[in-house]
């Protein structure tokens, strides 16, 4: 996984709430068995509309998605994160995320940042007025910055460290193999297995 420390880019104002993962990537695009190649499925239904924000030339190449509340609700499909990353997005800002989406995003190095709703509205207005506005997402300082505005955000220390180091969760867990083995020795024997029966 790539390290994430500080990223500066331009924003795409996605003025919609409740953008569920079925909208981010419809089910028909989930049939691939690889991790890449999902960009063409990103917001597939909406992208057919020339007025859709990703089709507007002033936002070409912008890589920070500024979304309304409840972004990424619904299905657990990690393909939603892969599609956003494949398309080029480095961070998503929203007042509220679906829990599983946020988890998936932070596992995979797509920074999902919660900002107050009023600040998201302000940022939308600012970016719409000037799409060239540079926006900085600073994981080190836990802060989003644009113009004179500085917006602190929360992220737990562990996740921040893992993202900054670009570390693989599985490798980290396997360092504690003896704890797992000890736990397995004390697990009740009546717990079911999928084998017998």
């Amino acid at each position: 996984m790539e390290r994430f420390t500080v990223h500066t880019g331009r924003g795409v104002p996605l003025r919609r709430s409740n953008v569920d993962t079925d909208q981010i990537i419809p089910a028909v695009y989930l049939k691939r068995v690889t991790r890449t190649g999902f960009a063409d499925g990103l917001f597939a239904a909406w992208r057919q509309d020339p007025a859709f924000v990703l089709n507007q030339p002033q936002y070409a190449g912008a890589d920070i998605l500024i979304a309304g509340p409840d972004f990424g609700t619904g299905s657990s499909r990690e393909h939603a994160v892969w599609a956003l990353q494949d398309y080029g997005f480095k961070a998503v800002l929203s007042p509220r995320f679906g829990d599983i989406f946020r988890n998936n995003a932070l596992k995979g190095g797509l920074l999902a940042v919660v900002l107050p709703e009023a600040e998201v509205e302000r940022l939308w207005a600012h970016v719409e007025a000037d799409p060239t506005t540079p926006i900085t997402v600073d994981l080190v300082e836990r802060e989003v910055r644009y113009g004179e505005v500085r917006l602190p955000f929360d992220i737990d220390d562990y996740t921040r460290w893992r993202l900054m180091e670009g570390l693989d969760d599985i490798g980290l867990t396997l360092r504690h193999l003896d704890d797992i083995e000890a736990f397995e020795r004390r697990r009740p024997s009546w717990k079911p297995t999928t084998v017998a029966g």
Binding site: R15, R16, S17, N18, D20, D22, Q23, P26, A27, V28, L30, K31, R32, V33, T34, R35, A45, G68, P69, D70, T73, G74, S75, S76, R77, E78, H79, V81, R96, G98, D99, I100, N103, N104, K107, G108, E117, D156, D157, Y158, D169, I170, L172, T173, L174, H176, D179, I180, F183, E184, R187, P188, W190, K191, P192, T193, T194, V195, A196, G197
Partner: protein
């Protein structure tokens, strides 16, 4: 339990919730400033969210740590007719074949298409008796919350986490907050657990449970069957919650006893002792509390494009201009445009051309019995296509043994084999653009059942009554 727990929880002397208890039982490792490492008792796998996880294992030369705690099934892509034929869609076929190869390579038990135990992942776990109280259960599928109906801690995970569980049988997790939803009173006739959960989501919104595990309790919940409890826990995710749970009780134990993977003999007694210790302590503290009165509920249907946009069937399509919150208003406007509905239209006046009865929300035997009780001796309305898709092959077998298939066929409905089917339209069962369905599934998102398709979420009783009249209806509307 030890000092660590008191220190971590910081609420010494306060009772514990059921989720607290199960969580503590499963902590493999706890360290300051890190998520807890939780042990996973059961990992369910299906073809859509697993291929990249198995690939990751191969790339890193890792094996599946506990194939004996892992179970795979084919559900999302499988066709529900002609299941003795190879899957026609080459991409779906590749995905299913990839799962078969991965399960063979890593030694995982798989129930393939056509197998007696094949079915929707959240239907087969309980049916096999693998879903038991006090367990931690995960699956690369958000509706894993279904299994919480047994008093298990069950939640959906992404593909990277699937890989993590395959490799380590654990997951690093921060503990969610707890929400109690208490449903008191008695459900009126014709009102079901689907209506409880649709009413709850309409009340608290699709973000209402965000960051929480919901525990459902109260006399109306305790009086529900296991099937009905699963329907409620299933849609916890539509309320934004990570998981839903219901305390295990005699109904739970009776359902489990004698199932293939349920403990027996002395082990059953040991298990019972543990299961009886699980319900939340009377003085347990929840971060949020919500109350519903079952007696005031009526059949619920959705009118919009998220599961929170629902209303009693007796109502009308709302007028977005009356919504005070600007974001909600915009969402409602968009939804009505997509759904092609006018404010003020009575919900009963909405005509459908498709009825879907199935899914992990309402594809169990009791749901099929409910639908059949309405369709018995009646005919499906002209021009309405009705798909009845059992949640598993075992449900199919039982329904056929009870003659339900005959009732559905005689009414003019299509009787299918098991799978997710039109719940998400990854297989050929899809709505065409502009078509409108009454569906017993859990998501009414734009295009969920097929591009341009329009979905109204309903209970099996409402779905069956709607099939008869051709417009959204309750059984009480039938003569």
């Amino acid at each position: 339990m030890g000092e660590t727990e008191t220190a971590v929880r910081g609420r010494a002397g306060v009772g514990r919730t059921m989720a607290d208890k199960i969580w503590e039982e499963h902590v493999v490792r706890r360290a300051d400033g890190e998520p807890d490492l939780l042990y996973i008792d059961l990992h369910l796998v299906h073809e859509v969210t697993s291929p990249q996880a198995f690939d990751g294992l191969r790339l890193n030369g890792r094996r599946v740590r506990r194939p004996d705690l892992t179970l795979a099934t084919e559900d999302h892509n499988v066709p529900t007719v002609g299941i003795d034929q190879p899957i026609a869609d080459p991409v779906s076929r590749t995905q299913v074949e990839t799962l078969r190869r991965n399960c063979a390579e890593f030694g995982i038990r798989l129930h393939p298409m056509g197998d007696r135990n094949q079915g929707i992942v959240h239907v087969i776990g309980p049916q096999l008796g693998l879903t038991q109280p006090g367990m931690t259960i995960v699956c690369g599928d958000s509706h894993t919350s279904t299994h919480g109906a047994f008093g298990a801690l069950a939640f959906g995970i992404g593909t990277s986490e699937v890989e993590h569980v395959l490799a380590t049988q654990t997951l690093p997790q921060y503990k969610p907050k707890m929400m109690a939803v208490t449903v008191n009173g008695t459900l009126p006739p014709g009102v079901t657990s689907k209506d409880i959960i649709l009413a709850l989501i309409a009340k608290i919104g699709t973000g209402g449970g965000q960051g929480h595990i919901i525990e459902y309790r109260g006399e109306a919940i305790a009086s529900l069957s296991m099937e009905a409890r699963m329907t409620i826990c299933n849609m916890s995710i539509e309320a934004g919650a990570r998981a839903g749970m219901i305390a295990p009780d005699d109904t739970t134990f009776a359902y489990l006893e004698g199932r293939p993977h349920a403990p027996s003999g002395r082990a059953w007694e040991q298990a019972l002792d543990y299961w009886r210790s699980l319900p939340s302590d009377p003085d347990a503290v929840f971060d949020e509390e919500v109350f519903l009165d079952a007696g005031s509920l009526s059949p619920y249907v959705t009118w919009g494009t998220n599961p929170g946009q629902g209303a009693p069937l007796d109502g009308v399509v709302p007028d977005p201009s009356t919504f005070s919150d600007p974001i909600e208003r915009a969402a409602a406007e968009r939804a009505l445009q997509y759904m092609d509905l006018q404010p003020g239209t009575p919900l009963r006046a909405i005509r459908v051309d498709t009825v879907f009865i199935g899914s992990c929300t309402n594809g169990r035997i009791e749901d099929l019995r409910a639908a059949a009780s309405i369709l018995r001796g009646r005919k499906v309305a002209d021009g309405v296509r009705v798909l009845v898709v059992p949640g598993s092959m075992a449900v199919k077998e039982q329904a056929e043994a009870e003659g339900l298939d005959e009732i559905f066929r005689a009414a003019g409905a299509e009787w299918r084999s098991a799978g997710c089917s039109m719940c998400l339209g990854m297989n050929p069962d899809q709505l065409a653009p502009g078509q409108r369905s009454a569906s017993t599934s859990n998501r009414n998102f734009e295009g969920r059942q097929g591009k341009g398709g329009r979905t109204h979420l309903v209970s099996p009783l409402v779905a069956a009554a709607t099939a008869v009249t051709g417009h959204l209806s309750a059984p009480s509307d039938l003569t």
